[in-house]
Structure formats: structure tokens, C-alpha cells
Symmetry: C2
Subunit: 343 residues, 2 copies
């Protein structure tokens, strides 16, 4: 049976800030089955699409051999990212029709997934399925592996999180409290700052847009310095944080959303501070931590059920709204985890 | 008995590049004994003074609470740094008159050392004593602890060292070869580049002053990327190296000599590369590694005796020449470990 398949395709490679016109909604038709003879594949109906800053990199054209986390998107083809899906038909022994899964899928209504090893069964369908685009999916694992495995928190550590109400930041802050740390977040609106303190349990928070000096704000919030800076933004905030790290401090570099749309990146001038203070600045990629996913999923599902971790999502409905939702990430329009509900 | 004591004192705090006139040679007289009643002190005759870039920081005036590796020098008082000394009189049970030691002493002929725990006995007086300002002292321990403990080399790793013929760099390169790595160094003259290849066993080397593009030079020397960058210079070289790190690479940030005399530090623009490649950039301070000194001293003395580590020193004679020798570090005038012989 052939059905209509609406999709978000890349219309042109992006330089600078992406705009809606870089993408296009098109429709074709798709057979609701795996093509005859294709083994280990699944045809999925996409339920939720995740909007994440990191896919901005895939919208540009890179030189061959450039260090990129994943290949460039192809013009005219659907964008690809983590999503939550229901299996329509499977030729993979691990999956059956009707299974709920999360993993790499297309920005479209139906996707034929041939690399189906990248899909994961949803083990807690009693929780909101959309959580598997976020707190129980790649985003949550990013927060967890970066904070726990790279940051190596100790009880009593002081922790700073930027983009702290965002998909990753909101979870890092709550994990920091669970770990017995003192945690301060920055965000880009008073509404988000309020959310940090009232919903996510941050000890303190500030609106970086209304501070005259980021360095002064950090000095006010951390008079004795920062043990762990979980960096989601890079640029000027990273530069200010480097001035305030404590001896033996760790900068967990998860993302640099302030930099992704710049043709020339901002210069970070305070790196010299890492020498006398023996600070470690470590970039990390969640792709290296999928081996801890099973442990993470159980632990995080427990926190959610106990109310120790709460989740704020920003949900738009319908694939037509996906381009605007993605672009909104770069101006901080979203409040909490941005996702698109399809079905 | 009172004798003349010539010394190098700080005349004024330094901004920008230091000049000889920032220091002054003065003389007073000193009694050749520990003052009556002062326990755990030693009076030493200084034999060799070490010239190291890091003391540039102590020549400036810093705000209270600034993150500095050691306190600012005091105007009118002798500079302080690692040196090799002979004990004239001791009230410390660990030391006797005649003992040869290395550690923190003054830039003068005789020094009363009250924090004598910072002095270390010289266990290999059969080797040149001057080596205890360098390869067997703080410099060697810096090379060793940074490369081994922070860089964690594996056989077959590709290693890049900047300021590679300098006091630290020349030892890092030789340790890299001993560890089975492929090692390339940069230096600031053709003479130094030749030294790297003919004396220190570097696999390749380049003169950074005659390269049009540092990034292109690194790509030429490391077509498959860099596993460990041992950074002694910071700035533009660090920025270029970040582009060429391999997945899981380590940047050992030992020093940033290109930055110490700048009022505003250069911006490092390529930090974003550390995310997809999971690169660790770690500042370190040799002061955290004195617990491995005893092991290091034996290992390094063995390498020297076996001819596996060779040392090139740049020695000036007489305390009057100390200011110019120190300043020469910042223009790369020295070839190898810069030191001042006093006696």
C-alpha cells in the first residue's frame, strides 16, 4: 500500500544562520513495507522528531576530510536525526511490527531504516514516549555521560551549566543536585531563569543577556570558583568561565551553540588560565558512550518516576512546523527540549 | 664572616616584553651562617641559576586573588627560581654543610633558605651538576610528568612538540622516542631544526618562522593527525594543532610562551574541533608531580648514562649576565636549556 510521505528536505547548504527557506516541505509516496529481499531493515512510522543544535553542522557543505561529527546532509533528501518511531514492518530479527523504538530516522512521516542496529527498543513505554527524544534518549545520555564520565563530579563540587534550561542543560543541573553539588545555570530570558530555580532545582541562575559582564556574574555566583563547567555554548561564556575555574577544574565541552553559525569562530583568550590551575578542557561525543545506555536508561527512568528529574518540553505539532522549530534553537526561542510531534 | 653578595633584583614590575632595565644588579653583604636561633634553615652558595619562561609571570603586578602559579616578585628583592646550590651552613637535620642540593633559591651569590623542605639532595653528582637546573630538575620533571602522566602516550602515537629544542621540548622529544612514538618538533631557527633532527632524534622538524601556514606545515608532517600535542607556546600554534588532532587526542598544555608578554592574549578559534574528536586539552603544573620525582630522577639518570637522552645547554657565566639570559628566552635567543653559572 502506497501512502503519502511528507518530509523536510535540505534545499541548499547553509552558511551563517539557517533560515526556514534552507529547507522545504515536499511529499512523495512510500510503500508501507520493506522492499523484497532487503534484510535487517525496518520501515518505521515517525512519531516524534528531535530538534538538536548539533545537526546544524550537517546542513553545511564541508571539504572532504574535514573533522565533522557526521556526514553533510544531501540536498533534496530528508534531514536525519534522532526520533521516536513505531515499526510498521521489519526484516530484522530484533524488531517486530508494532515495536516502539528510538534512534536515527528521517524528518518525514515514514522512513526505511537500513542501519537498524542504531535503533533501540523503548523499555519504558509507561513514560511519555516523547521523552525518548530527550531525557531518555540521546539528549539525556549526553547530559549523563558528559557530566558523570567526563566531569567526574564529587559531592560538594560547584557546577556551572550554560544553556541550562535547554534539553541537555536541564538534565545536567538535576544530575548535579542528585550528586550533591552546588549548581548555577545561565539562560537567555528571565522566564528561563525562573524555570531553572523553580522547576529544575538550580541553586542560582542568571540571564546572560542582562548581565553587563559574564565574568562578574560568574564571580558573584561562584566566589570560590567553579569545579565543573558543563559548556553548551562556547565563545564568550567559555572565556569567562575559564577565568573562574578552580584548581583541578573540569570543562566538559558538550556543545558550542554560540559558534555554529559563525563563519569565523570567536577567539577564546583565557586558555592560559588552565596551566596554573591544572584545568582539563575535554570535548566529548555521546557516540562514544552508547555502551552505558542500558545502565543510564534504568537509572534515569527511576529518577523520573521518583520525581527527582522533571522534564520541560517545547512541542510543536506537524512536520510543517519542524523547520521553524529547528531554527528557533539558535535564537533561544524554545523553552526546554524542542521536539516535533507527528502523529 | 661577612662577604659580598651580588644579586639580581626586580627594579619595577613588568608589562609587555621584559627588558634588562626591569632588573638591576646590586650588592650587599651577608654573614655566611644561619642566624642564631633559626631552625630548619640553610645558608647556600648558589652554583647555577635556571632561566625559565614561567617566572615572567612573577615579574608582573597581579590583582589580589588572581590565578597565578606563584606570588609576584617584590621590587628591590632578588628574583627567585630553581637553582643548584652547595650548603654552607645548616640548622636543618636533613642537610649538612657541603651537601649539594637543587631547589628554590635566590638570584644572588648566597641565599638563606628558610623553606628548606623545597630543597632536594643531588643523588647523581657524577653527572654534570648543571643538569639539576634542567633535565634532572624541574624542567625534566615537567617534560616527564606532562608527557607521561598527562599525555599518556601509547606506542605508535604521533607526537608534536613546540619549542622543541628548548629546555622542556628537547626532553619531551627524546621521551617520545623512548616510548615508541613518531615525533615532530617546531623551533624558531634552521639551526634549532637541525639540532632536533641530528641531536635529539626527532623524526621530523620545521622552522615555524619560515612556514607560510602553520596548519599546512602540520598537515604535511602529520597526514593522519596528531595524537599528543605537547604545547609550550600557545597562540597560533595551538590553534593550528587543534585542527589536526586525531580522535581521542591529548593536548598537554605545559606553557604558552607566545602569550606571556601580551597585554591581551591571542584568541584561540579552533576549540570547537575538540567536540567531534573528543580531544582533551589539559593544563598542568609540575608542582603537582613532585611525588614522582624520585622515580623520575633514577629513570632519567639512567637514560643519560645510556646515551638515550642527550642534553644541550646554553650557559652564560656570571650573575651580571642573568638578566639578558632571562630576556633572551622570549625572543628564542637561547639554544637549549638556558642557565647561568655563578661559581
Amino acid at each position: 500500500m502506497a501512502v503519502r510521505n511528507k518530509k523536510v528536505v535540505l534545499k541548499r547548504h547553509v552558511t551563517g544562520y539557517p533560515v526556514e527557506e534552507d529547507m522545504e516541505i515536499v511529499a512523495d509516496t512510500v510503500e508501507l513495507r520493506v522492499p523484497a529481499g532487503l534484510k535487517n531493515a525496518v520501515l518505521v512510522k515517525n512519531l516524534y522528531l528531535s530538534c538538536d543544535p548539533w545537526i546544524r553542522g550537517r546542513m553545511s557543505k564541508h571539504d572532504d576530510g574535514a573533522a565533522v561529527p557526521a556526514p553533510d546532509f544531501v540536498i533534496g533528501e530528508a534531514l536525519v536525526n534522532y526520533g521516536v518511531c513505531k515499526i510498521v514492518e521489519s526484516t530484522h530479527p530484533k524488531f517486530n511490527a508494532g515495536d516502539l523504538v528510538w534512534g536515527m530516522s528521517g524528518w518525514e512521516e515514514y522512513t526505511l531504516v537500513t542501519q537498524s542496529e542504531s535503533l533501540n527498543k523503548i523499555n519504558h513505554p509507561e513514560l511519555p514516549l516523547s521523552y525518548y527524544t530527550g531525557v531518555l534518549g540521546m539528549t539525556g545520555l549526553t547530559a549523563y555521560s558528559g557530566f558523570v564520565e567526563v566531569g567526574r563530579p564529587k559531592r560538594g563540587d560547584t557546577v556551572f551549566v550554560s544553556a541550562a534550561s535547554g534539553a541537555v542543560g536541564q538534565i545536567v543541573g538535576q544530575l548535579a543536585k542528585i550528586s550533591g553539588c552546588y549548581v548555577v545555570g545561565s539562560a537567555g530570558s528571565d522566564e528561563k531563569v525562573s524555570l531553572l530555580k523553580t522547576r529544575f532545582g538550580y541553586d542560582d541562575a542568571f540571564n546572560y543577556k542582562s548581565e553587563k559582564s559574564l565574568a562578574a556574574a560568574l564571580k558573584r555566583c561562584f566566589p570560590d570558583g567553579i569545579d565543573i563547567y558543563y559548556d553548551n555554548v562556547g565563545g564568550a561564556m567559555l572565556d569567562a568561565a575559564l577565568l573562574h575555574m578552580r584548581h583541578g577544574g573540569r570543562v566538559v565541552v558538550c556543545g558550542m551553540i554560540s559558534q555554529y553559525n559563525l563563519e569565523e569562530h570567536d577567539g577564546v583568550r583565557n586558555l592560559v588560565c588552565i596551566i596554573p590551575k591544572s584545568v582539563r578542557v575535554e570535548g566529548f561525543n555521546v557516540g562514544n558512550y552508547f555502551h552505558v545506555y542500558a545502565k543510564f536508561e534504568e537509572e534515569m527512568a527511576g529518577y523520573i518516576k521518583e520525581g527527582k528529574v522533571v522534564v520541560v518540553e517545547d512541542v510543536v505539532e506537524g512536520i510543517e512546523k519542524a523547520p521553524a522549530a529547528l531554527i528557533g534553537l539558535f535564537s533561544g526561542k524554545n523553552v526546554g527540549k524542542q521536539l516535533v510531534a507527528l502523529a
